[in-house]
């Protein structure tokens, strides 16, 4: 395991997580959440959990983001916080 890489991805995960809940646009939040999931999936594959990261890549970064985007498209992008 390369700890520099690990640390970089961990930082990115936290940044993407904070970004997803602070950005003042729901579509942006959905995309940020997709990025967060993808970083998470990288993190897990570093830790050797290949099956979990495969699932997260297809579910978290893939289908979940599509659901979010579809829901935002059907409702509104506006958010106050």
């Amino acid at each position: 395991m390369i700890w520099q890489l690990d640390l970089a991805i961990l930082t990115l995960v936290v940044m993407a997580g904070i970004g997803a809940i602070t950005v003042k646009d729901l579509l942006g939040a959905a995309i940020m959440f997709g990025a967060y999931s993808f970083m998470m999936c990288l993190l897990w594959s570093i830790m050797g959990a290949v099956d979990v990261s495969f699932t997260e890549a297809s579910v978290g970064a893939g289908v979940s983001t599509v659901f979010f985007v579809a829901a935002v498209f059907r409702t509104t992008r506006r958010t106050k916080d």
């Binding site: 936290v14 809940i21 699932t55 997260e56 978290g60 659901f67 829901a71 509104t76 916080d81």
Partner: protein
């Protein structure tokens, strides 16, 4: 001091998961927008999955897929050579549960939007009180 730094460094995965969990929990409690809360909920669930996967990690071990030759030659398998597979199994289930919850939550949010034309909780409550 050295001890403390060692603890902090040795368990950094756990600190990150706690940070992410706090972010998610904070978003779920404080945010006013229903979809934002759902995003927070997902971050919260993913943080717990990170925790479980961290418990499965093992130094000096490889991914939990056994080497198998097609020559019929059986390898001797040492438990120390492979990462603990059990947390991975549990977390596959947890990921599925989180996407299922996400689907239901988004469906509810769309229903609420169709009725009240907004996703802000305070505006919805104000509309309900007016009636």
């Amino acid at each position: 001091m050295g001890d403390l730094i060692q603890i902090v460094v040795a368990k950094y995965n756990y600190w990150i998961y706690i940070t992410l969990m706090m972010i998610g929990l904070y978003a779920m409690i404080v945010k006013n927008n229903l979809v934002k809360k759902i995003v927070g909920m997902n971050i919260f669930q993913t943080a717990i999955i990170l925790f479980y996967v961290s418990t499965g990690a093992k130094r000096g071990a490889t991914i939990p897929i056994l080497e198998h030759g097609h020559d019929g030659h059986a390898h001797v398998i040492h438990a120390a050579d492979y990462i603990n597979p059990l947390p991975h199994v549990l977390m596959l289930t947890a990921i599925v549960v989180s996407v299922a919850t996400l689907g239901v939550a988004l469906a509810l949010a769309i229903r609420i939007y169709n009725r009240h034309n907004t996703l802000e909780e305070d505006e919805i409550l104000a509309q309900i009180r007016e009636k």
